[in-house]
Structure formats: C-alpha cells, structure tokens
Symmetry: C2
DNA sequence: CCTCTTATTAATAATGATTACTAATAAGAT
DNA sequence: ATCTTATTAGTAATCATTATTAATAAGAGG
C-alpha cells in the first residue's frame, strides 16, 4: 500500500471531523484541497483505509455508508430521522473468544427513537 | 398493516430458516409457494417486518442485506470470505439507558477471520 | 540522483440492489 | 354486501458503488 496525498487527505478529513461523513461529503471536503480529485479515488481509499483498520465503516439503513475514526466506541441511530451519534461507553470490555474465529473488532449499533422524534409522535 | 399471504410467507420462511437469507433467496423460496410473487413485494414486506421488529436486517459489506429471526443474538462475519454465523451469547445483558434516546434493540457484529481463511493465508 | 516496476489516479462507463410507479386486487372495517 | 385503501404484480427508474483504462507517480534498487 503506497502513500499518496489523496489517501492521506481522506484519512485526515475523517480524523479531523466530529461527524459521520458520507463518501460524497468526504469527496466535497477533498475537492477544497485537491480540486480535480475523483470520486472513485475517494471510494477506493475509503475501502483501503477500512481494510487496514485506519477508519471504520458504518452501514446505514438508507444504504449510504458513513465513515468514522477508528476509536473504540458505539453508535446510536434514530430509526425515525436517521440521526447518528456516538456512544462513548465500553459495553464490551475486551474482544471475546469465538470458536474458529480470530476477532479483530466489532460494530455495535443501538437502534431507538430520539427525543425530537418522540415529541413529534405525541 | 394488513395481513396478506405474501407477508406471512416471507415471515414464515425467515423464521423456519437457519441461514441468513438475502432478499433474492427469500424471493426464490416464496416462488415455490406463490409462483407469481413479485420481487418488489418481497422487498416491501421485508421492510415492513423489520420496521415492526418481527425480523432483523443485517447490513453486509457487499451491500446485499440479509434477514434473520428477531431473537437476541449477535453475529460474527469473516472479513475475508464474508461468511456470517450466529453468536449465541449475551454480551449486553440489558438495553442501556442513553441520554435523549428510547432504545429498542441493538445490532452487534464481530469482525474477524475464520479458521479456513486463516489457514489459506499460511 | 536515475531507472523501473506497478500501485494509484482522473475520468467515465457500467453494475445491480433496492425503490418507485401504476392499474388491478383483496384485506377487513362498517 | 359494500366501501375504503393498503397491498400486489409487473415493470421502469434510481443511485451508491464498482469497474475500466490510459496516464501518472510512489518508492525500491541500483
């Protein structure tokens, strides 16, 4: 895996963001620095960075992936409006031993209804 | 939400299967009973059943969703071959209290490398 | 510093899982 | 039985993501 300014930029954008960015959003941020960067390049580097555990991919119900720093934490997603937030609490203290598998990490997503949507319901 | 033989069939197929079926696989099973059932009908009912917590949706890296019974358990997925298996252990004893959210359930996926892929690597 | 190999890139086309649309049908309430 | 409307079959459209290709640039090894 080679070092490129495109790959470094994608990683830097994700590490410096507090949001859970989509590929399209990362692409727009990249263009501010490298105006002619290609969307395909962003997608390819996102895949590389996920595979090398530099970032994490969050699979959303709307089929638009989001990307985040690889810091141990979980997420809570509102089933109603799709809002996603970090949950900074270690529900799983250490990686479990699962027969016939070498476990690298885990994805934990809590599904629920946020305050705003709850109020709208009533 | 109305009861239809199509919706009941989709639910029955998922509840009677030990695998994590794709929409296409469920569609093929449905056709054995209702030959002219539409793929769109399967997708619509899958969405209804997920929204009403009758089944769960598993978002996969290959962007092909899989569906499973709504019984509390987790999954382990091989990053190499994509194989998915059940993990019948309650890592999270009860749903946590998260500020500003009413939590309904959670999705927990362990990522790792299976025995077969590990052996292939060496 | 210079090759040389080959991973990476920009630009664009293609893919395919899922959703949208529409007229016909059938739940199930009254 | 009638009526409303959610659901259906069939088909077309969507669009996030991947594939393709010729040109470029890491970075290894002289």
């Amino acid at each position: 895996m080679r070092n490129t300014k495109q790959k470094n930029l994608v990683l830097e954008i994700i590490n410096n963001s507090c949001n859970h960015l989509t590929a399209e959003e990362i692409y727009m941020e990249c263009k501010k620095v490298i105006p002619n960067i290609s969307l395909g390049t962003v997608y390819r580097n996102l895949n590389h960075l996920v595979e090398s555990y530099k970032i994490i991919r969050i699979k959303m119900k709307d089929n638009i992936d989001r990307f985040d720093k690889n810091v141990i934490h979980s997420h809570v997603i509102c089933s109603e409006c799709g809002k996603i937030e970090d949950v900074m609490f270690d529900f799983i203290k250490k990686l479990p031993i699962i027969k016939d598998y070498e476990i690298m990490n885990y994805d934990l997503i809590f599904n629920g209804i946020c305050k705003k949507c709850k109020e709208k319901e009533n």
